[in-house]
Symmetry: C2
Subunit: 314 residues, 2 copies
């Protein structure tokens, strides 16, 4: 039985970046998050795919030990996202969104999973996110939720309702400002914490993330790569990594949260190094250890006992 | 005799941000960098002011022990910058630049200073930066240089010449890409290191900085403040802080460089918390110690011995 269940999308993406192009490539929030989490804990997906979904998608998930019993097969086509990135790899330009089988996606999570330790509600309609929480007989010990500007604009009340019921929200910086009505990210996080989640993780793309829990703030950079080829899935790989690591460990200390964010950042850095999910497939323990060591080298410094020029007199 | 000499501008700024407005406010690259550095080492300025420069500017510098012998007084008006920030506090919108006395600024550094340990050439014409280096009989042990897009566009050859003669370049991320012709900041830094400076510090505004020295990369966040009131001078306060700290300490180790970047980031965070130079005036040692502790809390995490779900088998 998977300890972590991820509800989100499995997609076929058409992506163009300055470094290449892929068509009908494996993607989707649950797909990226599931693969990334699979390195850290037992994970199951709740999603829907269409009749055109290639067997290869399931092979990749199976190879990583991801439980796919919760993936429905629809008679429609698979959800498809077509997007383009220019040299500003922080911003995806959506060319086309074909919802297809996602239009009627209304999963019954109880069919596949009952006793869920951690639930990740990736970016979908907040009404569905709320209904899934209603359906569970036993509340998960941790619920993490992701959302986007579209839901803040069109379903804010539903979103506010579901925010009261979760432990961690992941949101990008523009969306945090939009949701809170605050410009300062510190104030945005405080306002959002008052809406429900104790922990707010603000994603800043190539600049990393800011993590607010209680009064604590943790800043984690994104790993600066020689080459970023395709940013698609970075946020979901980040989420899958940190949630997978949190799920694996029982304690919910702030120390553990910080470690999980570093894990998530490392997984995101693997993700963007190649197109589609190639960067997070078949990683070996030494690859991960090396990247974590690089992360530590990137951010650590010897603690300072500052001596001002004229201590005490200025 | 000051150990650190800063060549740059002293200005009167007109600044509007969403949080207020100031007119004829004390500013300029050398002014900000000098004040910030004054907390860490003996510092002297080389700059020019006009006949309208208020005595208050000199009082502030004197109060912080900044040597002002190298500030010429011109019969023209003081250099003046008028700018505006919208809620995107990362981007200054220049409304007006009155060069005034800066037009004929051509300082003879030997008149005021001979034996310079560290020289900071703040953002001015690279031909003047080069001539100042020519003028010095004894090369400083460290030369730090700042520049901007305008010089990259209009005087690239002069800039490339002076880059061969410095140890540290500070540059913002867009300018690093422009100067190197590379999109990846890692590759940008490598290309710029090949142009001369062993150390390249890429400034990313509210996202902090990336520091490249040899093969080492250090990422430092900007301190996330509840309220940023005026970003003017942040980059120069950052530079003054890290250069002042480096000047104070003899060793040029990578450890020391990392510490200096944290000091610079702390000074920048004080700077942006208020208009003009108010945020970096009259700081007390406990203020600085507290911010440095907050910085450490912001970035530190317990080191990880990562255990993947199925170590060795995946």
């Amino acid at each position: 039985m998977p300890k972590l269940v991820i509800v989100g999308t499995v997609a076929l993406d058409n992506i163009r970046t300055p470094f290449g192009e892929v068509k009908n490539a494996l993607g989707g929030s649950a797909f990226y998050a599931g693969l990334s989490a699979s390195y850290w804990t037992e994970v199951g997906l709740v999603a829907v795919v269409g009749r055109d979904y290639p067997p290869d998608g399931f092979s990749v998930l199976n190879r990583h030990g991801v439980d796919v019993r919760g993936i429905e097969k629809s008679a429609e086509l698979t959800f498809s996202w077509s997007g383009e990135y220019t040299y500003d790899l922080n911003t995806a330009h959506t060319l086309k969104t074909d919802l297809n089988c996602l239009l009627s996606f209304n999963p019954d999570i109880r069919k596949s999973y009952q006793d869920i330790d951690t639930l990740f509600l990736a970016n979908i309609d907040p009404d569905i996110q709320g209904r899934i929480l209603d359906d569970l007989e036993k509340a998960p010990s941790l619920v993490v939720l992701d959302t986007m500007n579209y839901w803040i604009e069109t379903k804010k009340n539903s979103l506010l309702k579901v925010l009261k019921r979760i432990g961690i929200l992941t949101i990008n910086e523009g969306e945090a400002r939009m949701l809170s009505g605050q410009f300062s990210l510190v104030q945005s996080a405080r306002v959002i914490q008052d809406m429900g989640p104790e922990t707010v993780i603000i994603k800043r793309g190539e600049y990393g993330s800011l993590v607010f829990e209680g009064k604590s703030i943790f800043a984690s950079p994104a790993y600066p790569l020689e080459d970023v080829r395709d940013p698609t899935g970075a946020g979901d790989s980040f989420a899958g990594g940190f949630i997978g690591y949190l799920t694996r460990h029982e304690d919910r200390s702030n120390d553990r949260l910080r470690q999980s964010i570093v894990i998530g950042s490392a997984m995101a850095s693997f993700c963007v190094s190649d197109f589609s999910s190639r960067g997070i497939e078949n990683l070996k323990p030494p690859d991960v250890s090396r990247r974590l060591q690089e992360f530590s080298d990137l951010t650590s410094y010897r603690s300072l006992a500052p001596i001002l020029r004229s201590d005490g007199s200025q």
